[in-house]
Symmetry: D2
Subunit: 382 residues, 4 copies
């Protein structure tokens, strides 16, 4: 019954995140990476219908056979799907229809969970809940993008505050050379990309105990960091030029004052808050300008038990690659992680919008180095 | 008081067209040419606020100063505007907010119209009403696009029927060579592009009394018309290849049956209905295949009093160019027509979704030759 | 034997134009509209081989069967062709190979022309020679582009001078309203698009006796013409913004001095020379700024016998459309003109690089309104 | 004097590689990654002029100050440069001019090298020679692309043979878990990206003693490998779909026969030759289909002394990242490697066109995962 309770709790939290929205906010997709909130609501539901109920729950009736086409994200095994950039063109199914879909699946799932299930099914449902938690974080990031790129800058919730202040980079945690165990080794849930616990040799290194602040990053901007190619990867420099980037996403420089968009609307920048919404290119350029570097994901994991983390997803210097012995699960679930293991950078930690208890020190998040709409930040190493 | 009554009637009709929509349908912009219905609702209102109320109505308070940025369409004189392809990214202002905006402006306008106004102001308001009627037609075309490109093919209104059947091309109206008077010469409202009544010499010609039907066009498809470059303009042939076009917009060939999307959803194609939703390239290729041609806009206008027209906007063979003596009005209103007089084709007539009494035989509609989402059809000439 | 002499003369002139080039200059294609000079040399030869020799000259052996693929331009009837933008990627056939190809075809053609041929064949060969003359003009324009866009600005020929000075716009030729005969009515050669002599009614108008000079256009630039949207078509304004256009092609503003690239390299701008290398958008904007307009092609043709023309192709206000009764020839030759009759603007006259006696007052040149690499200029009307 | 002799030898070899070309072959750039051969000839010369002669050789006169603009590749420190995709638009400087440039610089360099120079200068000149050797390999790959994508498929040299046959994957070299030393530790020349010798812990693994053959890869094609998304990275699958890839570059399937383009022209595919010209995506998909994987660059380096390598650059599973302690050299030379350390995959080994003695077991080559014009192949691991 624990799983049933978890199911109810997770599903409710998804809808709570959307509660402050107007119907129109559920529909739009301003850029390809941002999905309409109503798509998240449907897609997470589709996961339980397609992978749990349809093949396993006797007598279950699909809500609408066409929804597979609409709400499949990238599972090639499971049929045609709406192209990612087209999601924002679909006014139907309506929010109301999708809420009915959620009710339909939730009723079937809670009935289903009252019975004893196989360990394999329990694992699959747990995966579905972790999957939904990932979309909870995406809902926050996508909602922030939708409202924060609207010329009216509407608040999401006038009472929701952002992460509190942090201290500037000052103290370093020194780590000694040696073999470290990397990867998940517990008994709870983890994703397949964390498995394959293995030894990694690390030389001596030091890692910052705190995250880079807005004020520190402002120093980089004011020192002309965006105009000095020496700190940038060639690909990052092209990205800066092509997109005319000169500050983090959601920052604005208006009449000499620095502003940023946050849950409460457009507000003065908080100098001592941890920097947020920067690309890997910017993270690496900042580190180079400071005379330091980013930690590898292994350095991060080895040091993590002694660090205070969780406010920002932290860009590492590691590309997203398989651990020794990595294998994909058979079937559609096997498409979860492995097929993204090229051209992505690992981020470690968690952010202020990551669901509670969702992350852990072996957790490997990953994004393309140009992306900034996630709650990303910088921790330095040397 | 006639103008006040007209104002109330036109404004109401706009909202009636939107009545069958769900809130989500007001928001999306599947392609650049299609604007979100809520944008039309706001933009037509912005016209009256910006050009009539703000400069002329004492004590009028703008509803929201930021709306100028959101609802300006292409008037460079009136400040910054949201890029056309970005309209579908804006979830705010909400539909409810825009309805409040309409109420706010409508109240001010009806009060304003209770007083005597100058002839110039009356002309401007009449232009605003004709402008809103043009957007009423665009609302129909854009709503059809939004619903008709949704994989669920929702009906707009299960009781709304499309234009009734027509006869195939059979009888020709013969016209004699001579000088004809072209252009608007009445006392009522017309657009600036119709002015400059002038003589045009036409040789002998004949023009079809009826429009091309779906069945006739099906003959072109089945004869391989889309695969035979000889009937196509080079630019049209590239367009066919690049977009893999093989039938009119909204047509589907499923399991050997021809279907088309209409107000009631996806339905069997009506063979004797007048063909609709084809580009100029297709119109010209069909005419070439039949051994005929399209009429010029002058041939059309000279023959129009003897023709039955109004079901489809009819592609002519004429490019959209100024009439002799054409001049633009000073200020923003001068941007209405003249600046589009390059790379556009003239369409004459009216369509099943043109507001009643909106068109006339001197009316010059115009679109880029590739566009198909309007209710466009074919009349042949020889 | 006249035709044989004409053949020899025209073919030689093509090679004379290329004489000052280095081998490397024959190869490149800096933009899609500019073809490599060696392609012109091969393509004009391919015309005679494909349309005259292969079907008509007994015992003729094709030089290389693969050349059809390489040197076909846009004749869909005659098989696959190298995509236009790929021409500059082909280092082979070499210039030497193409010169052998020319020798091979020229020998066969001169032998063939020693015999009496049918009138149809004579007409086809005359078309081939006019076609080659059109490519002679393109050779000049493309060579100028290749050398004039090279950062070293090499001269084409240090002894070749450009067109001499002209007078500023001052005197107007007044034309009376009435019916005018338009189109070719002689016995010599003309293109199919000039045929269909027909009446056009023109109102009173006046047309400038001289072309706009560089100095006059400089006035437009200095008055901020490129920054004032009011003079521009919407499409032209987008073109200015997107391409950051601020002056004619080949003009440079360096250290306060106006320079332009010409046959002798980069030289000071000549104020009293007729303006050259402007788009239709620029021509129309300049005319609007001056308070005038461009003539229609009919106004131009009616006035031409009294005008001094030939230095620049003159943008008209007319779109390129078929004359009454226009029909395409059957077969590949029918692709010559008709399929371009959409989205193009008519230019009348001739330019300093048009072959002698090639043009005439009924001649209709046409290009897309954005193109500037031809020797285009402005004549005003009112 | 050794350095002078090396200089003469390396510089001569570059020109020997170009000897079979026609002048036209030196000019074209069919895709952005392929540079015109004349550009390579100039750019390698520019390196010695800019970094060695101009700052250090008393009385040296630059050949032409504009050449810095033309022949700079990507050194942001050294001024403006021709955009990479524009190199193929430049017909000048001519091949002859560039050969004069080479003579000019070679004379100054050989005089300069007769005098004793500082160790720093010697290191810089050695870097210049290694740089030129890298461009020798690029000359081969770019020439193959230029000729092999020409519809006439000209031979480069009818007497030049490709690499000889290899054996299919059969025997595996077993490697034991433990700490391995990675990175260059000798006294000779190496690139900065090989420095920072450091320990890497590897688990037990096995690596194939031979490279994958054409016949083995044909098995993958015939088993439908290009149509089965399960073996592909998501990014690779998109690449296959978008580019309609179905075989290695230079392979053709004509009338049931497999052909490939090689130095001697279009020839039957050799089944037992080592596979060549595949992307990382294809390498990884093939490995997945076989049930194996690619080795990491560390696994490769640890095993290399026992392997026979050198026919193909071998895709590894490693992203191109800095070694511990990596630092860039100050100034323009520091742009050599570090700025490419994102979104690239490491290749190890050497190819049949790598200059003799140029590579070594610590050598790290790198390319974007989509690129195929290099001589790339596959070695499996498990």
């Amino acid at each position: 019954m624990q799983l049933k309770n978890d199911y109810i709790k997770v599903r409710k939290r998804t809808e709570d995140i959307c509660a402050p929205l107007k119907t129109e906010d559920y529909v739009v997709q301003p850029v390809a990476d941002v999905s309409p909130p109503k798509w998240h609501l449907g897609h997470t539901t589709w996961f339980f219908e397609t992978f749990v109920l349809t093949p396993n729950a006797k007598g279950y009736t699909e809500f609408d056979p066409q929804y597979n086409f609409v709400f499949n994200s990238y599972y090639e095994s499971v049929g045609a799907r709406v192209i990612r950039t087209d999601r924002g063109n679909l006014s139907r199914p309506s929010v109301e229809d999708i809420m009915h879909y959620r009710r339909h699946v939730d009723e079937a799932m809670t009935t289903f969970l009252e019975q004893e299930q196989t360990p394999e099914l329990n694992a699959l449902i747990t995966l579905g809940l972790n999957h939904e938690e990932q979309h909870q974080e995406l809902l926050y990031t996508d909602i922030k993008y939708i409202l924060g790129h609207n010329p009216l800058f509407p608040a999401y919730d006038p009472n929701k505050t952002a992460v509190s202040a942090t201290k500037p980079t000052a103290s370093w945690l020194k780590m000694q050379a040696g073999l470290y165990e990397i990867g998940y080794a517990g008994n709870g849930f983890c994703f397949d990309n964390e498995l394959g616990k293995h030894k990694v040799y690390l030389g001596d290194y030091a890692i910052s105990e705190t995250l880079v602040t807005n004020a520190e990053y402002l120093g980089f901007i004011e020192a002309g960091g965006y105009n000095d190619f020496r700190h940038w990867h060639a690909e990052g420099w092209d990205w800066v030029k092509k997109n005319q980037v000169g500050m983090p996403m959601y920052w604005y420089h208006v009449d000499g004052q620095w502003l940023h968009y946050n849950w409460q609307g457009l507000k003065p920048l908080q100098p001592d808050a941890p920097l947020c919404h920067i690309s890997y290119y910017e993270a690496a350029a900042f580190a180079s300008w400071k005379g330091f570097r980013l930690p590898t994901e292994f350095e991060w994991e080895a040091a993590a038990p002694s660090l205070s983390w969780g406010a920002r997803w932290e860009w590492t210097e590691s590309a997203y690659l398989p651990y020794p012995g990595f294998t994909k699960a058979p079937g559609a679930i096997g498409e979860y992680n492995g097929k993204f293991m090229v051209s992505q950078i690992v981020l470690r930690g968690a952010s202020e919008v990551t669901p509670p208890h969702h992350s852990r020190i072996s957790y490997r998040n990953f994004f393309h180095p140009s992306l900034r709409w996630q709650f990303t930040g910088i921790r330095l190493a040397k």
